[in-house]
Every structure is written in C-alpha cells, then in structure tokens.
C-alpha cells in the first residue's frame, strides 16, 4: 500500500514537471499581454481569443500553414507508400542486407541538416525548382522514407514468420499475404513509426529555413515571431506554439480511425 502511494507520488510529480510548461503555454495563449508579463503570475484572468485571431489573421501564418500541410502530407504519403513495403521486403526477402541498409538509412540522419541543405540548394537552383513546395517535399521524402524504413523493420520483425507461411499455404499470393496478414499484424507498431515521422517533419526547421524564402513552413513562421519588433508578443508566440502542436494530436486520431476502418474492410 505504502509502496503504491510512493509510486503514485512519483508519477504525479513527473507528470506535473512534464505537463506544466505545456499547460502554462496553453494558459498564456488565452491571456492578454498585460496578464502575461505581470511579475506575479495570475491564474484568474479574463480569457481572450485575440491571440489566436491575431495569429490566424497573419498572412505569413496562413501561408505557412498551407505549405506545411501540403509539404508534410505529401512527403509523409510518399514515405509510407515506399517505406512500409521497403521495410517488409528487407525483413522477409533480404535479411542479409538488413543491418547494412538500416545503418545507411540511419546515417542519413547523422548529418547536420545544413550540410544536406547546401548541396540541395545548388541542385534545385540548377533544376529551377529552388524555393518551391516540390523541392521541399523531395527533401523531406528522404527523412520520411528513411525513418519509416528504420522503424518499420522492427515492426515487421515482430510478425511471426509462420503466420505468413500459413497464409501462403492457404493459396494467398505474396502481396495478399503482405496486405491481409503482415500489415494488419504490424499496424500498431507502424502507426507509431508514422506518427514519429510526422512529428519530425512537421517540426523541421533548419532545412526549411535554408531551402525556402517564399514557400516557408509553419515552424519557420513561428521562429520568426521571436524576432518581431521590440516588444516580444508573448501571447502570439504562445498561441502559435499551441497551434503548431495541435496537428500531431489531431493526426493521431485521424490516422487511427482511418487505419481501423481500412483493415476492418480488408477481410
């Protein structure tokens, strides 16, 4: 009993430490600048939507949001389309290549983003596609494909080989075995992989900063707020932080529902 209590206390303390900054940000996003900057923090205040209205009314935010949605959506889609089958193929058909490929894929992420960005700028400029959504999508695909492969391999390794063998003995083709057996069994782990990848590209700042000046993404816009004028617009920063953090949560719900429906229909 005592032990359980001790555990609970630790959990509460940890949760508080983790969530407090988030809660504080959320709270502050509804405060007026006056309420935010008072030396004694207030818990009771007149909530306002003004910060959100200001943020959303900013043309650069609207532009960044659209760009982010398109760029992240496309690169994540391509990453899933290519990365998931690639991970499966590695596990089942080229296990001898697995460790080399995984290391290669991981090594793509060792490099500082700027080191990747500079050669890309040169290439994209030559091709005439520098500072477009397309070039950003192309660059992010590197991240999404490699991350999904990297996390997809363990997901498919958890699928017992025998159940795939059983399905192939029942006459199913390799693709059907993949779609009806391997994929549904691996999906809980794959969802984690996809979410993780989404968060990485959604929050990506450095490459976007280097590759774009017109077609910037939301993190670039958010970063620019901190240098807007003399008076730091805390309320707007807080509101934009919350807005930036919201999509990953929404995304979890949407993707779960979609995948559930997809696989319920599959058999």
């Amino acid at each position: 009993m005592k032990r359980g209590l001790g555990g609970a206390v630790i959990v509460v303390v940890l949760l508080f430490a983790t969530l407090f900054p988030v809660l504080w940000t959320l709270l502050s996003s509804f405060k007026t600048l006056k309420d935010i900057v008072t030396p004694v923090p207030t818990l009771l205040f007149q909530p306002t939507w003004q910060n959100y209205a200001d943020v959303l009314a900013t043309p650069s935010v609207q532009h960044g949001l659209t760009n982010s949605a398109i760029v992240v959506g496309c690169s994540l889609g391509v990453g899933m389309l290519l990365g998931v089958p690639a991970a499966y193929a590695l596990v089942r058909h080229a296990p001898q290549l697995k460790s080399d490929v995984l290391f290669y894929v991981l090594s793509l992420r060792f490099m500082p983003p700027v080191a990747i960005a500079i050669p890309f700028i040169v290439i994209y400029t030559d091709l005439g596609i520098n500072d477009t959504r397309f070039s950003l999508i192309l660059t992010y695909c590197l991240t999404t494909i490699s991350t999904i492969i990297w996390l997809g391999v363990p997901a498919f390794e958890q699928v017992p080989r025998e159940i795939e063998e059983a399905a192939s003995l029942e006459g199913y083709t390799e693709f059907e075995v993949f779609r009806k057996v391997a994929l549904p069994v691996a999906i809980p782990s794959l969802i984690g992989a996809i979410l993780f990848t989404f968060v990485i590209v959604w929050n990506e700042l450095l490459i976007a900063l280097s590759l774009t000046s017109q077609n910037f993404t939301l993190p670039v816009v958010a970063a620019s707020f901190t240098t807007m004028g003399m008076e730091v617009p805390w309320g707007i920063i807080n509101a934009s932080t919350i807005l930036l953090a919201l999509p990953p949560f929404l995304f979890i719900g949407v993707i779960m529902r979609f995948l559930n429906r997809f696989f319920r229909a599959a058999h």
Partner: protein
C-alpha cells in the same frame, strides 16, 4: 489424393546439415508418421514438403511431378504448425474460414463448414475470440480446424496434439484417424509420441539426427526394430537390452551367469566371440511354467507395478535388471524368487559395435 516421392533430401542450414540424403516414398492415401527425438529433423522435412524451406539437395515429387520450384501456395497442401501460427488479428472463426475465402466459396457454405468443423473440435463457444484469448489447447484445435476444413492433396501435421490434455488428445487422435479413413488424404504427421505414431500410422518413419533409422509398419518397427536406437525408442515399457557375447560353440549367448541357447537358424548369423546386444520385449519374458521348451532362469522380484490388466515386474537376473509384463493374476510378491524364461520368438539380436539388427530380415518375416 497424391503420392509423394522424396529422393535424397538434404537440408543445409549454413554449416549445419539437418537432413542427410533422406529417401521416402508415400503412397496415395497413406498415413505416414515421422517419429524421432527432438531436433532429428522432422519439422524440417515437413516444411520442405510444404515448400516453406528450400530444398538444399534432392528432389520432391508429388504425383510424379517435380515440386522443388513450385511455390507453397500452388502445392495444395494444408499444414498444422508446431506453434499453431494462428492469425492474431482474426477471430477463431476467421482463422478457420480464411482459406475458404481465398477459394471464393459461397458465404453460407463457409459458415456451414466452419460450424461443422468447430463442432468436431469442440470449439463452438470460442469462435468469436481472438487467438490470444484462447488457451494453448484451444489454439491448437483452431489450427487443426484451419487445416481440416479444406480438402487438399496432402495434410501435414507438426505435433498437432502435443499441447492437449490426455482426454482431449485421445479424442482428437481418434478424430484425425476417422477423418483420414473418411477422406483418405495422403497425410504426413510428425510426433515424438510413439503411442500416437503406433495408433495412427500406416507407415512409421523413425528418424535420428537427420537420418532415417527405419521405415516400416507399426508392427515392423515394434517387433523388428532395425537398430538399437529404434528398439530403445519404441515400446513402453521399453525393450530389455542385454550386452552378451556369443559362446565358443556359437550356439549360445553368455553374460555373467546368464546363458541363453539360440535356435540353429538364428545362431547361423553369428560367429563365436562376437559381442551382441540381446533385446527382448517385457511381454516376451515369461513365467517359466507358462513357457515350455526353453531354459529356465531364477530371478528375484524387485518391484511390481499394477498397470491395470497387466502388471509390470522388475526382476533381477544375475547382475541384470529386467522388466517383464505379466497378467495381473500371475503377479509374484516383491522379494520372492521366480522362474522365468525367454520366449524364443521374442529374441532380437543387435551387433554391439554397429547397433544394427542382426538377421532382422528373417525376423520381420516372422513378424
């Protein structure tokens, strides 16, 4: 309906050779049991037949057609896996129906057959559960159902009854037998339970370390084991095995104090001084007054175990302990001295050096 021909099967796992040039012919409709201790290559052989394991050497023919390069989905084989291999994301019902759906069987027909199979396997109440909500035995029965619902050319079973309690096991063994008598589908069944092998098999293949030790009917492997290994492996209680030497006259076997006279025909295969192992089934050690015309030996009863209609007696003869199985009415009290005799038709001889049976051909004719 299918014949299976296995020619010089070799399986190589890197440096490890799991099968050494195994030959086996299986008749159409035959029920063949692969029997052997753990690690002898039974599952490997089954998986090669199913096309799940590459054939490193040799040829597999089904109905005379080479199958080495045919993928498993085109071999028309149903298999029960040693570890069940149920689809974890499907209910028991869907697990059983999955194969039929592929064959585009009509829905009501699938439903009828699934329920019929579930009935047979006493699974009716569990059809809506996912595999992880089922006990080991229930999972095993779902795996059986998944195979049994189809009418393939060949059934492969990899120890399908190993996880069941005694009653269920016996019940399902009978069901497997009935199913086979009904459908006459060529079947290869792996087990390390010799009773299962004896009761089910038309033909038993005894395996050891990737080699075939003996192929024969249950009677042949029981009465005429081809080697000491088979003799030890088959039979419960096990065969008595006594190291002996052929006497100078060539007509008798001797081991400290114990002398056994052989009939001339048997003795012709031996030479004086040869070291042999004498094998005799517990049932062929008789009380002397029930066996006329052979040498009698005095033995002391060490232990008796009532096993129902029969009693197992452990007796000491000179320096050797022997097990005999007698009618319960003939049981002697522990500590008493009895006269026993070796039934001549039950004597089996093995070369002590090679472990191979001597003159097993002649004996198998007797059996």
């Amino acid at each position: 309906m299918a014949t299976i021909d296995i020619e010089k099967f070799v399986k190589q796992y890197g440096p490890v050779r799991a099968l050494h040039a195994v030959d086996l012919h299986i008749e159409d409709g035959e029920f063949v049991v692969l029997l052997g201790p753990s690690g002898c290559g039974k599952s490997t052989m089954l998986r090669m037949i199913a096309g799940l394991e590459e054939i490193s050497g040799g040829v597999l023919r089904i109905n005379g057609k080479p199958m080495n390069d045919v993928p498993s989905r085109d071999r028309d084989i149903a298999m029960v896996f040693q570890n069940y291999a149920l689809y974890p994301h499907m209910t028991a019902y869907d697990n059983i129906a999955f194969g039929l759906r592929r064959l585009k069987v009509a829905k009501p027909e699938i439903d009828r057959r699934v329920r019929q199979t579930a009935e047979l396997l006493a699974l009716g109440a569990y059809l809506d559960r996912k595999p992880r909500q089922l006990s080991g035995g229930q999972q095993q029965r779902v795996a059986m159902g998944r195979a049994m619902i189809k009418t393939p050319q060949v059934f492969l079973f990899d120890e399908p009854l190993s996880n069941l309690d005694a009653t269920l096991r016996e019940q399902l063994r009978v069901e497997v037998k009935k199913l086979h008598m009904l459908l006459r589908t060529t079947t290869v069944f792996v087990t390390h339970d010799q009773l299962e092998a004896m009761t089910l098999a038309d033909k038993i293949v005894v395996m050891r370390d990737g080699h075939v030790e003996q192929i024969g009917t249950p009677r042949e492997v029981y009465y005429a084991p081809a080697s000491l290994f088979v003799a030890r492996f088959i039979g419960s209680p096990p065969m008595n095995l006594l190291p002996m030497q052929v006497a100078p006259n060539g007509m008798q076997l001797a081991a400290d104090g114990l002398v056994i006279t052989l009939d001339p025909e048997r003795a012709a295969d031996l030479h004086p001084g040869q070291l042999v192992t004498l094998g005799i089934r517990p049932k062929d050690l008789r009380l002397a007054h029930l066996q006329s015309g052979t040498d009698r030996h005095s033995a002391t009863v060490m232990l008796t175990e009532m096993m129902g209609a029969e009693t197992l007696m452990q007796v000491r003869l000179g320096n050797t302990e022997l097990i005999m199985l007698v009618d319960d009415r003939d049981t002697a009290v522990t500590g008493s001295t009895i006269e026993i005799a070796f039934a001549p038709e039950g004597l089996r001889l093995f070369d002590a050096a090679t472990g191979k049976a001597i003159a097993s051909r002649r004996i198998s004719r007797v059996a």
